[in-house]
């Protein structure tokens, strides 16, 4: 890990060579909005484009997505100029047209002073509801969970995640990692009376032997036991009572 210094918004800061600008900024207390990037997922980012910043290197200025732009020697970053704010505002406005029902995007839009988007909005298309098609959920399911129950289907405007044929997945373990990863809360997951419902499928939950709270789907326990060799009894108690 090679440490180098770069400038962000006029401040000289230390950063690790090749780390994403977004992370370097975060570590130095500079906040850049970002939706589709997850530090644990190598292929994430580059899709929502709200993390745009100005990067100046070798005398040339460019607008780049900070979540996948590598830190290099002599780099100067500007995150909050009028130009950057304007471009970012445009991106957010388009996202608002696409998913007008998303509270996350609504809040972001309000922060940037957008009241009504100027363009045609996709209202009432409940299928896609709050999804901005960033594919974080499918990446988590594949790379972290290792199950690949869902994938990005169709393309262009119709691109959206789902299980094959929108049927109950034969491999989904109901872990909910996809729902936690979703930046716009577009994936519906409900735990009710010891049953979790996600992607249209129902999963029986295992209850904690101490507090009695159902906390993990049986299918997820089976999966962990099978793939990691962990003792099944480990899951008798929820994390709070272990």
């Amino acid at each position: 890990m090679e440490k180098i210094t770069i400038t962000i918004d006029g401040k000289t800061v230390e950063a690790i060579k090749d780390q994403p600008v977004l992370m370097a900024a975060k570590e130095n207390g500079i906040d850049i909005p970002a939706l589709c990037h997850h530090p644990e997922l190598e292929n994430s980012g580059g899709s929502c484009r709200v993390c745009l910043v100005e990067a100046i290197q070798g005398g040339r200025s460019r607008i780049v997505t900070s979540c996948n732009y590598p830190v290099r020697k002599g780099l100067e970053i500007r995150t909050d100029t009028e130009q950057v704010r304007n471009i970012r505002k445009g991106v957010i406005e388009l996202l608002l047209c696409r998913v007008p029902d998303s509270e996350v995007i609504q809040n972001l839009a309000a922060k940037y002073g957008i009241k009504e988007p100027r363009f045609f909005t996709d209202e009432g298309e409940s299928d896609r509801n709050k999804c901005i098609a960033c594919s974080l959920c499918t990446q988590v399911c594949e790379d972290v969970v290792g199950v690949s129950a869902i994938s990005m289907q169709n393309r262009g405007r119709d691109k959206a995640p789902g299980t094959p044929y929108h049927k109950d997945s034969s491999v989904c373990i109901g872990c909910g990692a996809c729902a936690y990863a979703c930046p716009t809360n577009a994936i519906s997951m409900k735990d009710e009376k010891g049953v979790r419902k996600i992607w249209g499928k129902k999963f029986k939950m295992v209850a904690c032997s101490v507090c009695g709270k159902p906390y993990i789907p049986e299918a997820q326990v089976n999966w962990i036991v099978r793939t990691t060799g962990k003792e099944r009894s480990f899951f008798d108690k929820c994390p709070d009572h272990r």
């Binding site: 594949e142 869902i150 393309r155 094959p164 044929y165 491999v171």
Partner: protein, 158 residues
């Protein structure tokens, strides 16, 4: 899709196609194209068997099946009738031509007739604007198509 006859797919044929390729992820698209050619669509059973054989998650194969325009998840007609709705054709009355076809064949655009004879699609500029309006059946281009004559063109395809 409503009204469509779903023939039972021939699993032997599916397996024969799969086995004729190398067991490698690179063969996936070619196999899906072969399904399309043999069955006029990519059957669910085909994706399932392919997933098992290759050890590739079904979700990934399904993603491919929905991504490429050359692949269809519902049975397509024996012939494809594309009505160009590009700017030039649109101005030359492609809208009425498409409506005539829809009415005469009792089919909505971008779907297949009940007898599986035609899949009717509206497409954007097919690159023959000089002969607008253009109708393409399978590989055959017809230019300067008149509303009153369009059904004569389609009649040649059984």
């Amino acid at each position: 899709m409503a009204g469509q006859v779903r023939k039972k797919v021939d699993t032997k044929q599916i397996d024969k196609i799969i086995k004729s390729y190398d067991k490698s992820e690179e063969s996936l698209l070619a196999i899906l194209q072969d399904f399309q050619r043999s069955f006029q669509y990519v059957p669910e059973e085909g994706m399932k068997r392919l997933s098992k054989y290759m050890g590739v998650p079904e979700s990934k194969i399904y993603a491919m099946g929905t991504f490429y325009k050359a692949l269809s998840l519902t049975p397509r007609g024996r012939h494809t009738c594309k009505v160009c709705m590009g700017t030039a054709c649109h101005l030359k009355g492609a809208g009425q031509i498409l409506e005539t076809i829809e009415r005469e064949l009792k089919v909505k655009r971008n779907s297949t007739t009940e007898d599986q004879r035609f899949t009717v699609e509206s497409v954007n500029c097919v690159g023959a604007c000089a002969m607008a309006p253009v109708v393409v059946v399978d590989e055959d281009y017809s230019g300067h198509v008149r509303q009153s004559k369009v059904m004569d063109i389609l009649d040649k395809y059984k």
